[in-house]
Symmetry: C2
């Protein structure tokens, strides 16, 4: 097991990464304010791991309330969030009851926002079971739900007490979700860690084959990058926005194709290629750079051509993006491979050219 | 105008109290991150003050989005909150757009929680127009909505950037709401400020007659008390719970009688009399003390007899109260008049006797 820390003053917390962590009550107990928890999971992850985590805690004398939600991005909404509140209130969960998110990014986001909001805030713990959640969404405190008019528009910055990334859980992860997680792993290399990008190019085949050692290293290095960025800019007033590489375009793709039809990581992959295309048109990087990025995503079995929604549709979908400021769209672009920057000055004409370059199938 | 400060480090903010503040753009402009605001109000307060506040801001070059909600505690729910999100998203409000709550406690609570949640947090400003909101709910950052299974169960601790209490707005306040506000004013005297209680006994007739000077002093002194308590214990881990005098019983009354049939301040008044009764049965205070408290509430035209819901119903309604801890009910009780304390050790038998002493009409 390896441990790193997210340094946020009195809200700092450890991230534990390793095999068999679902059996480690000793990693959870020090963070409970009361020997009572609610484990929030879904109909896919629950049958795989809920009994095991429940047994770990019950054997340590902790009362466990299970809350099993429907699975999928389409359920990341108020109605599902309210199922958590209903269960907590019916069982009279208290201010010191800890919520444990057991699942992927959607479960983590819903559970975190439920914890931020229930009785104005109860403790919570992240137990991410997908690669994407382990390397990205479980770390940093972004929580929330979707609104019909925009993704992740309702939520809170709310930090967990501890993150337990059990690498064993990746053994049951579908191929497509493994790849989606790799999109965020690659992102860290692209935005700020060229040596890690080199390592990924050397080890992508091992990662796709789920080599345990390679995965553990990729998770650790990703979390280190994210922890550094979050510690420097918790509420995304500055450099944290770099973590959104490909996300402005990616959210437009996810919205345009219907929530849940493209996985988040798939949107990030194709969206990053749009960001790379725009960066090339602006003269920041070369076609060879674009091809290098494209090749790595492809080796991770990720889509690199965005759907042809039309430039106007893209602009409209991006207009309600959270990263809009004073009416100007902000983009994360490449200064070079391994170094990105945030700008509100992307030339409108070049942006339109990039969006017209999105030529993939627009039907799911 | 008088100004005091709520001291919360980098989240400190001023409270301005005085006449004509709705016309003072200079008090709002320094707190805007962007010359764009959404004013959230309701169908009662909107016709009275929305145009005036809008003109103040428009004349200062600020773009104003009005959001008018239905009026009443029964609308303090997710559906109404979502009307705010719908309006913000439809108008493409951004992370730097400030929400301004123009209204009473319900508007302040909904708007504050909307601000805490929209895009994971946007700035907000309180412009309370009821006495209750000016002396209590607009200060301290408690925000939220009700859930069918419990009052204020969903929300956030989220501080405003500034509070503007325009005492002119109290001229249009219905008698019953003026009295409800006085319940919270009296509360500060009862829990921690005996000199203020003495002042209230000497000046209650002036307050009920809406003497401007008396009201301004009562608001200032109340806010000073609240600001001190909140600064010492923002998230209610300790002494802030004192502010809940009468609230555990009061919430049970409000729930048992149906949300909105009893005003919050009315529940607090009758609930405080139950707390006084229990404190007397425990030997903390005398019948003369109880009568003294009863007399002051009565002079403020407040109910002092709680409805006869039955002891079991009371206990059930109180069981999901936020102040429940480890299955034990916590009460704010009198040590003496002018000094309260929090305890989880109220004898069950005496509590039951107190609840049987609630003999008011149980039908609204």
């Amino acid at each position: 097991m390896q441990t790193l820390s997210v340094d946020l003053g009195d809200r700092s917390y450890p991230i534990h990464i390793g095999a068999g962590l679902l059996d480690r009550a000793d990693l959870i107990l020090p963070h409970l304010a009361q020997k009572r928890v609610a484990i929030v999971t879904n109909t896919t992850v629950g049958p795989l791991y809920l009994d095991r985590l429940t047994a770990t805690l019950s054997n340590a004398g902790v009362e466990v309330l299970p809350i099993v939600l429907p699975d999928g991005e389409v359920y990341k909404n108020w109605e599902t969030l309210n199922l958590v509140f209903d269960a907590l209130l019916t069982s009279r969960a208290e201010r010191k009851t800890t919520l444990i998110a057991l699942g992927g990014g959607v479960i983590g986001d819903i559970t975190g926002y439920a914890a931020a909001s229930y009785q104005r805030g109860v403790p919570f713990i992240q137990v991410p079971t997908t690669l994407l959640a382990q390397v990205d969404s479980s770390v940093g405190g972004k929580t929330g739900i979707n609104h019909p008019l925009g993704k992740n528009m309702i939520g809170a910055f709310y930090q967990p007490k501890v993150v337990l990334a059990d690498t064993d859980t990746l053994k049951t992860l579908p191929e497509r979700e493994l790849s989606a997680g790799l999109a965020e792993v690659i992102k860290y290399g692209l935005i700020r860690d060229l040596p890690f990008l080199d390592w990924l190019e050397a080890n992508m085949d091992k990662l796709v084959a789920r080599d345990a050692g390679a995965l553990a290293y990729a998770i650790l290095r990703s979390c280190e990058n994210k922890a550094e960025v979050v510690a420097a800019d918790e509420r995304e007033s500055g450099q944290r926005a770099l973590l959104n590489l490909g996300h402005t375009f990616g959210h437009a793709i996810e919205t345009g194709m219907g929530y849940g039809n493209w996985l988040h990581g798939e949107g990030v992959s194709a969206g990053t290629m749009l960001a790379a295309d725009l960066s090339r048109r602006m003269g920041n990087i070369t076609q060879a750079d674009v091809d290098r990025i494209d090749a790595l995503f492809k080796r991770a079995n990720l889509p690199t051509v965005a759907p042809s929604l039309g430039a106007d549709a893209y602009l409209s979908y991006m207009g309600v993006d959270k990263k809009v400021e004073a009416g100007k769209m902000r983009f994360v672009l490449f200064r070079k491979v391994g170094e990105c920057y945030v700008t509100a000055d992307a030339p409108a004409g070049l942006l339109r050219e990039t969006l017209m370059n999105a030529t993939g199938p627009a039907q799911g």
